[in-house]
Symmetry: C2
Subunit: 336 residues, 2 copies
DNA sequence: TTGAAAGCGCTAACAG
DNA sequence: CTGTTAGCGCTTTCAA
């Protein structure tokens, strides 16, 4: 019951297993219409479902896309997950996910044990470390993975020979800085997220370049590192000396989550947003719209990026182009 | 390269495949220490990783937990996903996820094709329909799944003979209504989410009961259905006739996401929150803390529920107890 | 305890 | 175009 196998279907249809396999799971036409129909009918009658595990054993690769990501609870990644899952499904693949909890070492172990699943594609989401000591390890694991026919893709930078989908972080930063400068902001503070991550450093660099180009350079001591989370933004603003904040008219956070935490902290310090101090973020996660005031940000095609990752992996021809962001001005940065 | 098989390990260690299998993937003690060491050493030397697909073929079941959920982008579900993934990992299982896009029919198809993966556990997240025509279909699929040794669990109600993890939605509703009544609110409006869903109806019922018990019953025409999303909350409030809103001092949304959308809509209508109208939600997703003003809600142990689901499925002894919520009062419902 | 050998369900040459 | 027949890598009786 519930366990009809290919052999059962073949017998029921009066054909060989090979033929049954060809019509049920094989590629395109190659079987006479009559046989095809008989097999299909038998399969339906028996409620046949292919045993994917057996298929994977025989083929050497499973029909799975594995998404490795730091934290599914972060909207940045859940958007990406959405895209990966959509594209995988369209390609007839199943999505598996594994969480690294933002731990590079764990990521390597994960890739190692995931290899056992024989996924067709592994999408590694989350920014790479500029010079992680795990990078080499990771590359070794991926080599082994490629050895069995798998295709790794990075979603945001590759520190390896394998392809990646990238965002134009620097450009986005420049554009945002330029846009807010145009609005009249001159004394900006940057909440730069963790140092060492490629993504955050690119964004910070872009912001500073943009501001500098407009004649309002951001001094080093106004570029603050913080945890890549709501709490990171909150804590950093909360701990800031009064005199620093007094001279600032705009906080530029390198992610919306950080910005949202920062906004709450600003308010908890008795400052009005945006009257006393304005704020902007990056990513345009859904929560940015519901922030009060709504958050100025750079919209990144997150879902699309997830989709692109699996496409690039599947048809490895396509050259991975980097994805641009769009500045979205909202009330958190009014004309000043 | 990267493709050491059990046979390779056995040969390298000078033992039979059976022995190698026993030490590497089998249960506990049964192999002499010396052999055990030799196998382990050989495996390490060869960088052996078990082929999970082959294992699943041989065993009939894979080492996978499959999570079926409506939308990973919704924080309610991403919290649950977090818990499932954690517990699965602790049990040495891999988590797979599939998105239904809130479509019951799709859910059934998904379960059907997921069956092919032979997951050890399938967690079906998301509220059941009170009387969905797909319920019977779903049950049929699950029967087949159980037939191959799988274990289904529902996360929020079971319309089938299989276990479920439940929240005490009604009780939570009663407590919330009672709490806000204690704060001085008397004329409440309910944003009840979609009708037909068990969860939403339970919450609505609880709220109404609680309010009624306090002597401030909520009339039928102040219980509004809406989409289970931020936009659902926004749209419903936006479309409300002025005279209805005038008589309301508190909006009770059956989810935080709805509440957050509603809050924005209220504000867009020129109302002050909470001065003119207060608001509360359900779930206590992270965004509730960052809402302005911070949102009163009922905290539900979402991550914990996800964990419980896999535990219940794995050791089917434990009787699935239902999980209680805790009212969390914040500034969106000040003493009035 | 250990090993030989028969599968698990499916695929993919290779003939016919 | 169809069927025969080896595997795929691992598990698991069953004897030794």
């Amino acid at each position: 019951m519930g366990t009809a196998t290919l052999a059962d279907v073949a017998r029921e249809a009066g054909v060989s297993m090979a033929t049954a396999s060809r019509v049920l799971n094989g590629g395109e036409r190659k079987v006479a219409q009559e046989y095809r129909d008989r097999v299909l009918a038998a399969a339906a009658r028996l409620d046949y479902t292919a045993n994917l595990a057996a298929q994977a054993t025989a083929r050497g690769l499973s029909t799975t896309v594995t998404l490795v990501l730091p934290d599914i609870t972060d909207p940045y990644f859940s958007m990406i997950a959405m895209g990966v899952s959509e594209a995988a499904e369209e390609a007839g693949l199943i999505t598996t996910m594994a969480l690294t909890r933002r731990d590079a070492e764990r990521e390597v172990h994960l890739v190692r044990s995931l290899r056992g699943q024989r996924p067709r594609v592994i999408v590694l989401a989350g920014s790479r470390q500029r010079s992680g000591h795990m990078n080499a390890e990771l590359e070794r694991e991926l080599e082994a993975y490629v050895g069995i026919g798998g295709r790794p893709v990075f979603l945001s930078q590759s520190t390896t020979p394998y392809p990646s989908i990238d965002f134009r972080n620097e450009q986005a930063g420049r554009e945002l800085a330029t846009a807010v400068h145009g609005l009249g902001y001159r004394r900006m503070l940057v909440l730069g997220g963790p140092t060492g991550l490629v993504t955050t450093e690119e964004r910070v660099a872009g912001l500073r370049e943009g501001a500098a180009a407009c004649g309002a350079p951001i001094p080093d001591d106004l570029v603050l590192a913080c945890d890549l989370s709501r709490d990171g933004g909150y804590a950093t603003i909360a701990a800031l000396p009064e005199e620093v904040l007094e001279h600032v008219d705009l906080v530029l956070a390198i992610s919306d989550v950080i910005a949202i935490g920062a906004m709450t902290a600003l308010r908890d310090r008795g400052l009005r947003v945006p009257e006393d101090i304005a704020i902007a973020g990056f990513d345009d996660v859904p929560a940015a719209r519901d922030a009060v005031p709504p958050l100025t940000t750079v919209r990144l095609p997150l879902v699309e990026a997830g989709r692109a990752a699996v496409h690039v992996a599947l048809q490895d021809g396509r050259p991975p182009a980097s994805l641009a962001g769009t500045v979205v001005l909202r009330e958190s940065t009014p004309q000043r």
